[in-house]
């Protein structure tokens, strides 16, 4: 059930911050293991990178980059609220966060193209 507080933009920001953080925490060990595969030779890492060329994995990569940008911008929002007291401009700040994440997503799509 949605409570009134759940309709506030701050609640959506907190939820997205958490969900993106959980996704990144799950992804990180896999990312580290993939990079360390180069200890078995460059070919081992290339084998892994070849798998990432499939559309599904490419879409997941894009989602993770967007999750990283989301978590960073919404984390900056928390630091700003706690240390600079900008609470009254939540909507404007969230709009800026969304714009930054959108820009990163578009840049990733254009670069990965």
């Amino acid at each position: 059930m949605m409570r009134a507080s759940h309709k506030q933009p701050g609640f959506l920001a907190a939820l997205l911050h958490r969900l993106s953080g959980i996704a990144l925490a799950i992804f990180l060990p896999i990312h580290f293991l993939a990079l360390a595969s180069v200890l078995n030779g460059a070919a081992a890492l290339d084998s892994f990178l070849a798998v990432t060329q499939t559309p599904a994995v490419k879409a997941s990569e894009g989602a993770l980059v967007v999750a990283l940008a989301t978590h960073m911008t919404l984390g900056l929002r928390i630091l700003a609220i706690e240390f600079f007291d900008i609470r009254e401009r939540t909507v404007a700040v969230l709009t800026a966060c969304a714009a930054a994440v959108f820009a990163v997503g578009v840049a990733f799509l254009l670069s990965a193209g």
């Binding site: 293991l33 990079l35 200890l39």
Partner: protein, 109 residues
């Protein structure tokens, strides 16, 4: 959250804000025209600045992620107490070990 964990979370967040911004720029630059192990290693092999940057990144994330997960788990599940803290301490050590192994791999391989 205890004051120490709160401070560690916010300090690591401040470090990660810079580190993630740098990492995102690196990602967007690196993937242009495809990505191969050779491309990655050409930039990272023997590069001390790279090694230092990502070492700081790994340490910050090894503090930040487990503390963040602890907050989420304590709020969204009934899991509390020593077993949760122990599990997340293991997760922190795992991130440190795997992270430094990865940084070392692309620096020295």
């Amino acid at each position: 959250m205890t004051p120490v964990l709160f401070l560690a979370q916010r300090l690591s967040a401040a470090v990660l804000a810079l580190a993630v911004a740098g990492h995102l720029v690196t990602i967007l630059y690196a993937i242009r025209g495809g990505l191969t192990a050779g491309d990655i290693l050409a930039r990272t092999h023997g590069n001390l600045a790279f090694f230092a940057f990502y070492s700081v990144f790994v340490v910050a994330v090894a503090f930040h992620a487990p503390i963040g997960l602890r907050n989420v788990i304590r709020e969204w599940t009934p899991w509390r107490g020593g077993s949760l803290d122990a599990a997340l301490a293991v997760f922190a050590v795992m991130l440190l070990v795997l992270g430094f192994r990865a940084v070392f791999a692309v620096y020295a391989a």
